[in-house]
Amino acid sequence: MACDIAAPPCTVRSATYNGRMDISRRKLAVVLTGAAATASAQAPPTPGPDAEIDAARLRQRASAQAIARVPLPMSTEPAVYFKA
């Protein structure tokens, strides 16, 4: 259990942790569903793994386009040499 250092010492006992809940399961379900709906409406969309890969591919394409704008004489060889 995590205790906030600034708060009074933790005195929660296991018997009282959830033993006196004054709420029905139905009411709890309504509250939780509402809270979840609110949270999902407010949270910024987080990209899934596929969206991240697509974004990386787009960045690669954008780089290729930027490089393609550099005038390149046909005689220019790549900056790497094979040595026999």
């Binding site: 690669q60 780089s63 490089i67 790549p78 790497v80």
Partner: protein
């Protein structure tokens, strides 16, 4: 046992070597003290991948035996150092900062470690790094097996990457020097952010045998130290041809300050905006003051323009082509998903879709970049610029979060790397309590010239002598 004072941990190589040879303490005592300090303090910065105490103590005993009979092996004999955890150390884990490689063990030492072993330098630790040197385009400081690299000047700030452990460890006095690596900025950036002096050698000057490959045509190894002279002393030992590194230039490096040209014979190019209002506002006063110091050395200063190229796109495409091939098995096996940074995972996966034509075009344009820098150096001997445009960003924030606006174009780090040029990062002041640095970019194999100007700058300033608030 001799007293090892706090000053010892922040001594230069020459200072420490003199005390060892004067027998103020033994190499064994020094090594134990450094190991104790590194093991105690490095975790504060997530800077340590693996302590090498046992083998370091064995090496230290050998050095003491040598010193007893007067067998000296040069200025690095008995000096404690660390290496970025992308260098193989025989029969011990080499993690490359990445979970999929956490249990990786090689049966040989990297070439630079062999070279440093021969002259009696004491390897005390493997230092943390950004996972896979950040080749997949990471976005968080936490992209490392050891956790986010934290800055000894302010632990809420990033130590820089990808040589995060070497930067923090040298700055905090945990090692006297470290070996880092740079593909595009990984020595200069942590050196600048942590306030240490870093040298990125010319491509091919230092063998990369036993180092993780990220980009065969861009990777370099180099020293991160307390001074420009220390960088020279380390480079003197680790440079040299190696038939087992296909990128080796087959050349060595002799530190020869006695042949340094007079400042009046040296022309330094610069872009005025960099030292006016081009950098982040907090860094501008330190950069302007550094420019004045350089001017006061008596060198010729000349305004230049950096050649226009899409440097970032070129470096990104070349790394994608080469790293995609290097890490193909990792990516296809799905183990890439064990990396810490989702952005980097996605970046690595996308590399497999890079068209060959895009890679080859980038390498052809790179030939034009090389030619353009060759032309630039017809008009000047070196280029002066801010090493980074501002101090270290916050470690908890995304690294691509927009910072203060800047007018400088940057481009010297990727441009210099594309052209394979050497560069030296020199601490030059502080912004918001964090180090700021200038950098000098030189012609291929002109490291002596960069170090000469670096030495003169560091004789006029004491920024490289400043220590972060490291408690014992």
């Amino acid at each position: 046992m001799a007293e090892i004072s706090a000053d010892i941990y922040f001594s230069t190589i020459a200072e420490l070597g003199a005390k060892l040879r004067a027998k103020e303490f033994s190499c064994l005592e020094l090594t134990r003290a450094f190991c104790d300090r590194m093991e105690r303090i490095a975790p504060r910065y997530n800077a340590l991948a693996l302590s090498l105490r046992e083998q370091a103590i064995r090496q230290a005993r050998d050095v003491d035996d040598d010193l007893k009979i007067g067998r000296t092996r040069g200025p690095l004999q008995g000096i404690p150092y660390g290496v970025k955890d992308l260098l193989a150390v025989k029969k011990l884990p080499t993690t490359w900062g990445a979970k999929p490689y956490a249990a990786q063990v090689f049966d040989y030492d990297a070439r630079v470690i062999e070279q440093l072993n021969k002259i009696g330098a004491i390897l005390i630790g493997k230092l943390a790094m950004v996972e896979l040197a950040g080749g997949g385009d990471y976005r968080t400081a936490a992209a490392s097996l050891q956790g986010p690299g934290l800055n000894p000047w302010d632990r809420t700030r990033w130590s820089g990457g990808s040589s995060s452990g070497p930067g923090a460890a040298v700055a905090a006095g945990l090692v006297t020097f470290a070996i880092g690596s740079e593909t595009s900025g990984s020595i200069l950036t942590p050196s600048a952010f942590c306030g240490v002096t870093g040298l990125r050698p010319t491509y091919g000057l230092v063998s990369r045998r036993g180092a993780m490959a990220l980009s065969w045509t861009l990777d370099k190894l180099g020293p991160m130290c307390r001074s420009a002279e220390d960088c020279a002393l380390v480079l003197h030992e680790i440079a040299g041809g190696d038939l087992q590194d296909p990128g080796s230039a087959g050349r060595g490096f002799n530190y020869s300050p006695q042949y340094a040209r007079k400042p009046a014979d040296i022309t330094i190019g610069y872009m005025p905006v960099d030292f006016q209002d081009g950098a982040e506002p907090s860094a501008q006063p330190a950069l302007r003051a550094a420019f004045e110091v350089i001017k006061s050395l008596g060198v010729n200063l000349k305004e230049i323009q950096l050649p226009e190229f899409p440097y970032g796109a070129l470096v990104g495409t070349i790394i994608a082509g080469e790293a995609g091939s290097i890490f193909e098995d990792l990516i296809r096996s799905g183990k890439v998903d064990q990396l810490a940074d989702p952005h980097q995972i996605a970046g690595l996966k996308a590399m497999l879709d890079l068209p060959a034509i895009d890679y080859v075009r980038a390498m052809r344009v790179r030939s034009l970049v090389k030619a353009a820098f060759r032309d630039l150096f017809l008009n000047c001997d070196m280029v002066l610029a801010p090493a980074r445009l501002g101090p270290a960003p916050k470690a908890a924030e995304p690294l691509d979060a927009p910072g203060p606006p800047t007018k400088s174009r940057g481009g010297l780090i990727p441009g210099g790397n594309l052209a394979g040029l050497p560069a030296l990062s020199l601490p030059c002041g502080f912004a918001d309590g964090l180090p700021v640095a200038i950098s000098l970019l030189g012609r291929p194999f002109y490291e002596n010239q960069l170090i000469g100007i670096g030495n003169l700058f560091q004789k006029q300033t004491d920024w490289h002598r400043r220590r972060p608030p490291v408690e014992a």
